[in-house]
């Protein structure tokens, strides 16, 4: 369950708002609240991303190549995108390149975004995921290394190895999955495998992979909704 804070800006100490200087009111409030409650920002951001509220104004600004709007977009979403590409690539330098490529592509292609692709953030995730997966595939030796190292690590270590899905909140949720489900979610969500590739490389029938993914995703959705 996502924790929802019902915080109103009027409770904020003025001094905290002062600290953020030239930032505009909306952002200064969020930053100030972040100081008070480290999880507030994350939850608010999540809510903003998931809400069906209007994103039309932001998109208009992005279409005009408004630098401030892109800066805000970067500040809001680069951690999520970096987290995603880092999990796929497992290499900080490659991930940083992928992050840059993703934002450059978002900047260049913003006019090709439309609602049939879901919300803006979903589209951005797709752009970033494709870039990261392309980079991973371009680097075949890495992929081979990754594949050989993966099987034992998943079996041996359980849920708590670094750079796995062990960030705040996720771990507890993911812990409810069976080891089989955890493995497919790890491979598909965070390492850029397709379901067919998981089947091929780990010798699991495709139907089994698909039903594991389905069960895992249904479980995760129940948890967060």
């Amino acid at each position: 369950m996502i924790q929802r804070h019902s915080y109103t800006g009027s409770h904020l100490p003025a001094a905290l708002l002062q600290q953020v200087g030239d930032m505009n009111a909306r952002f200064s409030r969020e930053i100030a609240i972040f100081v008070l409650d480290p999880f507030w920002s994350e939850n608010q951001q999540l809510e903003r991303v998931m809400s069906q509220g209007s994103q039309a104004e932001l998109i208009d600004q992005l279409l005009q190549r408004d630098r401030k709007a892109f800066e805000r977009l970067y500040d809001d979403y680069s951690p999520a995108i970096y987290g995603l590409v880092l999990k796929v690539l497992r290499d900080e330098a490659l991930a940083e390149d992928a992050l840059q490529d993703a934002f450059v592509r978002i900047w260049q292609k913003i006019h090709t975004y439309d609602e049939s692709k879901g919300r803006l953030f979903t589209w951005m995730l797709n752009v970033a995921r494709n870039i990261a997966i392309d980079k991973l595939r371009a680097n075949t030796s890495r992929k081979a290394e990754l594949t050989t190292s993966l099987q034992p690590s998943i079996e041996a270590r359980g849920p708590s190895t670094t750079m796995q899905i062990d960030h705040i909140g996720i771990r507890e949720i993911v812990d409810g999955l069976s080891p089989d489900q955890k493995m497919v979610i790890e491979l598909i969500y965070f390492q850029g495998y397709t379901q067919a590739e998981v089947s091929e490389e780990f010798g699991i029938p495709l139907g089994t992979v698909k039903s594991r993914v389905r069960l895992a995703m249904n479980y995760l959705r129940d948890k967060i909704e």
Binding site: Y82, Y113, S116, K117, Y189, R221
Partner: protein
């Protein structure tokens, strides 16, 4: 300016316009164009020339051969690469009969596809794994199109898709890691280098948005020669630019546009003069000068002119 003369005589400006320079030379000319209106003028002139040559070339091609070649079917089914797509689109601009044949192909195919998707069982679609494949970017183009269409026709499919996308967004937000600080300045530097001078949009066609104003396109429209517009024809479409996956047309419409549905592209328009309405399935949207409209993918629509004078529009079609 000697440097500019050299660029023109060595063909570098023409190559810049055609997007054929290596990145360093491209950046050099781009930077010069940002600082110097003369360079921008030269780029304009080269663009006009390229567009003129392209049209002249297309007019020499045999439209009937193209219609007979099967390329239009491939185009309608979205099977052409970008070069192929552009070739067909330019032929359609140069030859009305290609445009008519293309529309007929598209209409048939779209009608078939809509019937096909509407005949699907939304419950079966939801219970299959295909929506998960879709959200993870692991399905084919055909599957992607069918799913996006199904989401338009079946609210339950749309809801399932939204829920899967939410999970994707949730996992990404929860897995967020702050990138190195240097990455931020790298992106900001990129934006700074790519930024246009105030009149710079005349170098690169701006994408339409609800913030667009007719004045933003004045520089482009002013360069259209009056004889390019044939009076007494319902639809005059003059290409202004083709770049960045986007074809921009100056359209002069006396009656309207027939019903159509976009599967492969988004269409956006801005009314410059006159007025019209867009007829959707359950809704009519009236547009006046300065109004912007975004035709959503998979939505059937037609346009009817309501003014006594022809309705002039900027129309952008983008592959998305």
């Amino acid at each position: 300016m000697k440097r500019l003369q050299d660029w023109i005589t060595t063909g570098m400006i023409a190559q810049f316009v055609a997007g054929k320079l290596d990145p360093d030379d491209h950046a050099m000319i781009f930077t010069a164009a940002k600082a110097d209106a003369e360079v921008r003028e030269a780029i304009f002139a080269a663009k006009d020339q390229m567009m003129g040559q392209l049209m002249a070339h297309m007019q020499l091609q045999d439209p009937e051969a193209l219609i007979a070649s099967g390329l239009l079917t491939a185009y309608a089914e979205g099977r052409l690469d970008q070069d192929g797509r552009e070739q067909v689109e330019w032929m359609a601009v140069a030859h009305p009969q290609v445009s008519i044949a293309m529309d007929a192909f598209k209409r048939d195919m779209i009608a078939n596809l809509i019937t096909h998707v509407k005949s699907k069982d939304p419950k079966a679609l939801i219970e299959s794994e295909i929506l998960i494949d879709y959200v993870l970017g692991a399905c084919t183009e055909d599957e992607r199109r069918e799913i996006e269409m199904a989401a338009v026709f079946f609210p339950t499919v749309a809801a399932e898709l939204a829920s899967l996308r939410n999970l994707d967004a949730f996992l990404a937000m929860r897995g967020a890691i702050n990138p190195p600080v240097a990455a931020r300045s790298r992106f900001l530097s990129f934006m700074e280098a790519a930024e246009m001078p105030a009149d710079g949009w005349s170098l690169i066609m701006p994408p339409l948005s609800s913030a667009s104003k007719p004045a933003d396109f004045a520089a482009w429209v002013d360069r259209v020669k009056p004889e390019a517009i044939h009076p007494g024809i319902n639809l005059n479409a003059i290409p202004l630019a083709a770049d960045n996956d986007m074809l921009t047309l100056f359209v002069v419409l006396t009656e309207g546009l027939e019903e159509e549905t976009h599967l492969f592209d988004i269409e956006r328009f801005l009314v410059l003069e006159g007025s019209c309405y867009v007829q959707l399935e359950h809704e009519k949207i009236y547009l006046n000068p300065g109004d912007f409209y975004n035709v959503k993918k998979y939505t059937t629509h037609k346009v009817v002119v309501t003014s006594d004078i022809p309705c002039k529009l900027i129309v952008q079609q983008l592959v998305a």
